[in-house]
């Protein structure tokens, strides 16, 4: 008997390997026909922030109801996106939060989450290039609990509002909630042993895949392949005019990119969470003895 279908949230703070994971899934689906076209990913599982999906499900004009009212409806929109069988992987950058109604936005029964976490110092560098923002402004974004995407203004934002919290808040919101099962992968581990960690994530989500299929999909999702495709044909999700989306992907890239002051500013804000995930501190921020014990 087949297990019922489910949504798998592919959750992360931005620039933490989410797109790479989606490309891996697309290559898994493509099988021997891969490598898949990196500009043909949009139909696969979707994005939690998709305005059109919201309007299709609710019939409402999403530009004429408040962000909070939208958040109250989102759990019911996602219920409709649950597939009858198999998994539907949906990308999410929002923090795991309750809607104003009290209902968790992503706590749809039967769902689970794969959460990707990456060294926030590397996130800052990658995010700054991606958004064409200064490093200092990017650090402010990672350090502010008030951070959000598409909060809106004078025009209709392309995506629904997404409350991110600060980097530590985003990580903790998914990993410390107890509504739905969650499987955590460090980006650094995924880079070091992609086959092992992709396979473990699939197994967690209830998908059985042969080792050969995983190996091929990993090969087809290699960074050089992605970079080659982007150089040839561009990438739909690239934001910056000057910097490619698949820029470096390196672990520890921050060492050549951030000043000591910038590193200190990140570590001061996130030391506790960084230690929890084994990211050794470069500076010596003040950390409470309690969190050092936890780390």
């Amino acid at each position: 008997m087949n297990a019922p279908g489910r949504i798998v949230w592919l959750a992360s703070y931005p620039k933490s390997g989410n797109t790479w994971f989606r490309i891996f899934l697309a290559n898994l689906a493509a099988g021997e026909n891969g490598p898949t076209d990196i500009n043909d990913l949009h139909e696969r599982g979707g994005m939690a922030y998709n305005r059109t999906e919201f309007e299709l499900a609710t019939l409402l004009d999403s530009g004429l109801i408040s962000h909070d009212d939208i958040d109250n409806l989102r759990p019911y929109v996602y219920r409709r996106l649950t597939p009858p069988i198999g998994q539907r992987w949906i990308k999410v950058h929002d923090a795991y939060m309750a809607a104003p109604s009290g209902e968790p936005i992503f706590g749809v029964p039967g769902t689970c989450a794969v959460y990707l976490v990456r060294d926030p110092r590397d996130v800052v560098v990658s995010f700054a290039f991606h958004n064409s923002m200064t490093v200092d402004d990017t650090i402010k974004l990672l350090n502010s609990t008030d951070s959000a995407f598409c909060r809106g203004g004078k025009g209709l934002e392309p995506q629904l509002r997404q409350l991110l919290l600060d980097w530590s808040g985003n990580v903790a919101s998914w990993l410390d909630q107890t509504d739905i099962p969650v499987h955590c992968i460090r980006y650094e581990d995924l880079r070091a042993e992609p086959e092992r960690h992709f396979a473990a994530a699939l197994e967690f989500a209830g998908r059985i895949v042969s080792q050969a299929d995983v190996q091929r999909a990993v090969r087809h999702s290699a960074f050089d392949e992605l970079r080659r495709q982007e150089a040839e044909r561009g990438f739909a999700e690239r934001m910056s005019r000057t910097s490619p989306f698949f820029r470096s992907g390196r672990v520890g890239d921050w060492r050549g990119q951030l000043t000591d002051e910038q590193v200190a500013c990140i570590e001061e804000a996130h030391a506790e969470t960084m230690l929890r995930f084994g990211y050794a501190l470069h500076t010596r921020p003040h950390v409470s003895s309690e969190s050092l014990v936890k780390g």
Binding site: L59, D61, L64, I65, S66, R80, G155, L156
Partner: protein, 304 residues
């Protein structure tokens, strides 16, 4: 009582509908009535359910958070029950938008999610997702001399030769403040579509069409990003027929209510009466003037 001509239907409304253009004299018989009354909380067990709506063969119940409950019945009636504290004006945006879109579907009309403008007695429709820039492009075309036909909800009927006609919606243009500033429409700006939102009614910068006009072409508005490159390209018949499904105003309704109208529309495309193109442009206002000239040139080229 307020009287309007909306998408070709005589509407008699207890509520003022600020987005619609009023008619001075009441019609002999109203096609549609809009009234304020109690609306049931549910349509019962037999109804199909969405996150905030219920639907049976003849009725749709729509819940708009903190604003109103609407009952849209048999293509003839919209009943509005306001939430405490909500105003008629705020609810009217939904009466004219979603509710009227549903009502047109109930009447078996082909309803596209798009704007339309006309020149030389024929119209084009610009379809696309919310935020794609349909209304902004339509407004810019009107500034270049086109006649305003519809914004957002594009109802299509067919004449006796099965040729598609676009019905003027009898509503004002709705634009976000950003577009109003970039297009320099500050003087035409009216009230907010809903209090607290930066979207406003705008008097069209050209005359408004009053009679149905032949639909010459449909342009699917898409953002230029890989693999799509800026330009206007033809799409094949299979994709065009699928597009008519996808570009419907709220396709879930189309699938349940007006499959015949869609089939007729698809037939019209096969007969060559209406052509569908992809109009691909970068997001934003920088190259809007270029898009307008390219589109007008392309439209002129269709005459041959």
């Amino acid at each position: 009582m307020h009287n309007y001509l909306i998408s070709g239907l005589h509407v008699s409304s207890e509520m003022e509908l600020p987005g619609a253009v009023g008619q001075s004299s009441p019609p002999p018989v109203a096609d549609v009535s809009v009234r304020r009354a109690a609306v049931p909380t549910s349509l019962g067990d037999g109804a199909e359910r969405g996150p905030n709506w219920e639907m049976d063969a003849r009725t749709v119940l729509l819940r708009i958070p903190r604003l109103a409950r609407l009952l849209i019945a048999q293509g003839r009636e919209i009943v509005v029950e306001l939430h405490p504290g909500a105003t008629e004006q705020d609810a009217s945006a939904y009466v004219l938008g979603t509710a009227f879109g549903i009502l047109l579907h109930q009447r078996g009309t082909l309803v596209l999610h798009g704007a339309a403008v006309a020149r030389n007695g024929e119209a084009i429709a610009i379809c696309g997702q919310s935020g794609a820039g349909k209304s902004t492009l339509a407004a810019a075309l009107c500034r270049s001399g086109a006649t305003f036909v519809t914004d957002d909800i594009c109802a299509v009927t067919f004449n006796s030769d099965r040729r598609p006609l676009v019905i003027p919606d009898g509503r004002r243009l709705k634009l976000w403040q950003e577009s109003i500033e970039k297009l320099d429409f500050a003087e035409q700006r009216g009230d907010a579509v809903r209090a607290g939102f930066e979207k406003y009614f705008v008097a069209p910068p050209s005359i408004m069409a009053r009679e149905p006009l032949p639909l010459r072409a449909i342009y699917l508005l898409r953002q230029a990003r890989p693999p799509l490159q800026e330009g206007i390209e033809a799409i094949d018949l299979a994709e065009a027929m699928a597009a008519l499904d996808r570009e419907a105003y709220r396709p879930v309704l189309r699938a349940k209510m007006d499959s015949i109208a869609t089939a007729v529309g698809q037939g019209a495309m096969m007969m060559g009466h209406v052509k569908i193109f992809r109009l691909i442009r970068p997001r934003g206002f920088e190259s809007l003037a270029d898009t307008v000239s390219a589109l007008l040139r392309h439209w002129d080229g269709l005459a041959q």
